[in-house]
Amino acid sequence: MLESYVPVLILGVISVGFAFVTLALSHLIGERKPTEEKLIPYECGNVPIGTARERFPVKFYIIAMLFIIFDVEVAFMFPWAVLYENLGMLGLIEMLIFVLILMLGLAYVWGKGALEWE
């Protein structure tokens, strides 16, 4: 069983080595002509307007957190949907319980007023 980890070790060594070698080579033999445009922060090709260190409204974070929860829910539902036939009634009931818990969470968030922007 220990031998079966040898490929993993080889892969690890190769990937670390590859990253190191490419970085080192481009650092050593790459040509560098820095211009002002090249040195500004990359913002999807747009010319930056102002500093990136803006203060965001904290509401964005709440929305992001809620999104993550329901995103993970979908990630959990995909494998269930694929194996729906095999899991049968048991799987259906478990998924219903899972969704029910999330619905309770949504109700909680709604009641707290986290869904209102103002």
Binding site: M1, L90, A107, G111
Partner: protein, 480 residues
């Protein structure tokens, strides 16, 4: 084998239902001030205790053998739910006006205790991690419940980061154990170890996994190489939450140590006895010596909890029936005396958090003074208190296993600890009060109930120790 034994988790189901109710009450109620969350929470725990009482004595496998409810798990459920009741009793006057979201506070305490109960009934490493996370995540949030208090926020983030890291180490260990024995089920781990591994070339990998799991568990019980978070977190968190962490989380973590290492990993546990002896000595010594210099009472009690973890580890080192049963006994006494001491602090905290601030309180508030005396005596280990009998049984177990020198070190440590515990009483009774006029706002009936319950419990454990010790010895069936 889809044995859905909902009966065996019925106490937890009751608690989860109440927690959801609290959350919805907290969010939809237009009159948040009027609800008696603490009374509701006490009735939830009482109901859970009742259900557990009905179950007690049976041995049930459930949920694809991921859970095993046995007598010792039942005893620990009683401990957790009892801690829940006392914490609910002492919380309300303390958090009143300081925490806006009271429903959430009680819901998180309940959910954390559900996590502990899942640890107690786990029969699979995955289930164990689930319980640990349910317990810890709730406590991370609880520690930061005073959102506008910097120390509280620091405690929360520190506990969260280090706790997440320790869980990662523990999961790594579980992965290694799974990699070598091919299962996470407690009984199958033992079977497969004996069948395939047994001293073979991969035993080293298995032992590495066990060591990583041990590191994760030692983090939770705040044993020395992994204790750094304890003082800051216990000092910064709201006092009622600290009481909950210091009693509940510690009890759950010790049961995790006993359950995992004496059911699932008992094949490896003897490899770790030597290092556990070392950890135990260094834990109690460092805890006691660091506590000597503390002026802040909460921080002092945090270091004292490290020292107590060291004493309890002696019972684990002994690895015999007396020693292991003594851990359970010690945990009950330890939980009671810490809950009691923190209940006193909850009332006195308005005056300040340092030793100077409690000056003279013993005579100003004779009841609180008497209570603090009982709790501090119990922490030192003076008869007739539960702390004394706990130490006595732990040392007895170690002597039976032949660790005379370990017991001598522990007794010396105990003597050192008398200084800082009794110093609290010196300040309370022999120093002049700094502001005699400052009357306390709260002499709350619920906190008084908590104090009476805990002190009577400690004296009962100290005067009639056989009653509990016989129960714990009888049900301590996990032996290596």
């Amino acid at each position: 084998m889809a044995n859905f034994d909902f009966l065996s988790i019925s106490p937890d189901l009751v608690l989860i239902a109440f927690a959801v109710l609290f959350l919805l009450m907290g969010s939809f109620s237009r009159t948040p001030g009027v609800h008696n969350y603490n009374m509701l929470s006490i009735s939830a725990f009482s109901l859970a205790i009742l259900f557990n009482l009905l179950l007690f004595g049976s041995k049930r496998f459930g949920f694809y053998d991921m859970m095993l409810y046995d007598e010792l798990a039942g005893i620990f459920r009683f401990i957790f739910y009892g801690i829940g009741i006392i914490v609910s009793l002492m919380s309300d006057p303390y958090i009143e006006g300081k925490i806006k979201h009271k429903g959430e506070y009680y819901a998180l305490i309940i959910l954390s205790i559900v996590g502990m109960s899942f640890i107690a009934t786990s029969y699979d490493l995955i289930m164990l991690v689930l319980g640990v996370e349910a317990m810890s995540l709730s406590v991370y949030i609880l520690a930061g419940m005073f959102k506008h208090d910097e120390a509280s926020a620091e405690a929360s983030i520190k506990y969260f980061l280090l706790g997440a890291f320790s869980t990662a180490i523990m999961l790594l260990g579980i992965a290694f154990v799974y990699g070598t024995v091919g299962t996470t089920n407690y009984s199958l781990i033992v079977q497969n170890y004996n069948k395939y591994l047994h001293g073979g070339i991969q035993t080293g990998i298995f032992l590495f996994g066990v060591a990583a799991i041990l590191a994760g568990v030692l983090f939770k019980i705040a044993a020395v190489p992994f204790h750094m978070w304890t003082p800051d977190v216990y000092e910064g968190a709201p006092t009622s939450v600290t009481a909950f962490m210091i009693s509940g989380v510690k009890a759950a973590s010790f049961f995790m140590l006993i359950r995992v290492f004496l059911i699932a990993l008992k094949v490896a546990v003897f490899n770790f006895v030597d290092i556990m002896v070392f950890i135990s000595i260094i834990t109690m010594t460092l805890g006691n010596i660091a506590a000597l210099t503390q002026r802040n009472i909460k921080r002092m009690l945090a270091y004292s909890s490290i020292a107590h973890a060291g004493y309890m580890l002696i019972g684990f080192v002994a690895l015999n029936k007396t020693g292991l049963a003594a851990i359970v006994f010690y945990l009950i006494a330890y939980a009671l005396m810490n809950l009691g001491a923190f209940a006193v602090l909850v009332l006195l905290e308005e005056k300040g958090k340092d030793l100077e601030h409690v000056s003279g309180c013993g005579f100003l508030y004779p009841f609180l003074g008497l209570m603090m005396t009982i709790f501090m005596f119990s922490m030192v280990g003076l008869p007739p208190t539960g702390g004394f009998m706990g130490k006595f049984y732990v040392f007895k177990g170690a002597l039976e296993a032949g660790y005379l020198w370990l017991v001598i070190i522990a007794v010396l440590n105990s003597a050192v600890s008398a200084y800082f515990y009794l110093r609290v009483l010196v300040y309370m009774f022999f120093e002049k009060p700094i502001d005699a006029g400052g009357a306390l706002r709260t002499s709350s009936a619920t906190v008084t109930t908590a104090l009476v319950l805990t002190s009577v419990g400690i004296l009962f454990l100290g005067i009639f120790p056989q009653f509990f010790f016989e129960i714990t010895t009888k049900y301590m069936t996990y032996l290596p």
